[in-house]
């Protein structure tokens, strides 16, 4: 299951949703809004997506993950809009028969999401300035 949402992510419900009788391992990853980047203070992040392609790439990531590990169920949800410090921006929950494969599958899914999915964050700094985050050399 994949989803983009403007609402807070209910990660407890998401975790319950992926539990399966034959899965003895459940891993939940949460990405949360951090208050410091180096020595700069963040007050909020704005997230935006190119929704059609973002959903397609998230679905492909789920399919790739299922092809590599014996996933019982998995869920990936990314939040969009304005998020305050500490709020959950992304959640990935994965169940597998054993813990090693659950950890690996969850790690793979979040890494692929961060690498591929067209979603962007904007830093809103404490001094009132803002910066879109585009990894790589500045332009």
């Amino acid at each position: 299951m994949i989803r983009l949402t403007h609402d807070p992510i209910d990660y407890s419900a998401l975790t319950e949703q992926v539990r399966r009788p034959h899965c003895g391992g459940v891993v939940l990853f949460l990405g949360t809004v951090r208050d410091l980047t180096g020595d700069r203070v963040t007050v909020a992040l704005d997230y935006e997506a190119y929704p059609a392609l973002a959903e397609k790439k998230m679905a492909e990531t789920e399919a790739d993950t299922r092809a590599r590990w014996p996933v019982g169920e998995m869920a990936m949800v990314h939040r969009l809009g304005r998020l305050d410090i500490g709020e959950v921006s992304v959640a990935v929950a994965v169940s597998c028969p054993h813990r090693a494969e659950a950890f690996e599958a969850c790690r793979y899914a979040i890494d692929r999401l961060k690498e591929l999915v067209p979603i962007w964050k904007k830093e809103n700094w404490a001094d009132g300035s803002t910066d879109w985050v585009h990894p790589g050399s500045p332009s």
Binding site: Y50, L53, P118, K121, H134, G136, S137
Partner: protein
């Protein structure tokens, strides 16, 4: 043909528009589109070099011919998560 390109994040801020339009010859490729965008919108040139282009909801290779009336999007380096 006129090719409309959706813009996101810093690309939108640099142009002040969430969509721009450039003239392309028929059978133009994604590489041609990239050059046309940089020429028409010099403010985008730097970011464009490290951005992907999507055509009809898929990342596009530079050699792909841009179909008429395609949905095209300029995708700066992503930072979700």
């Amino acid at each position: 043909m006129q090719c409309r390109v959706k813009l996101f994040a810093r690309a939108r801020d640099l142009t002040g528009a969430d969509e721009v339009s450039v003239a392309l010859p028929d059978a133009a490729t994604v590489a041609d589109l990239r050059r046309a965008l940089a020429s028409a919108y010099p403010a985008l040139a730097g970011l464009l070099k490290r951005s992907a282009l999507a055509v009809n909801n898929e990342f596009a290779d530079e050699t792909l011919k841009v179909p008429p009336a395609a949905e095209v999007a300029l995708l700066p380096p992503v930072s979700g998560g």
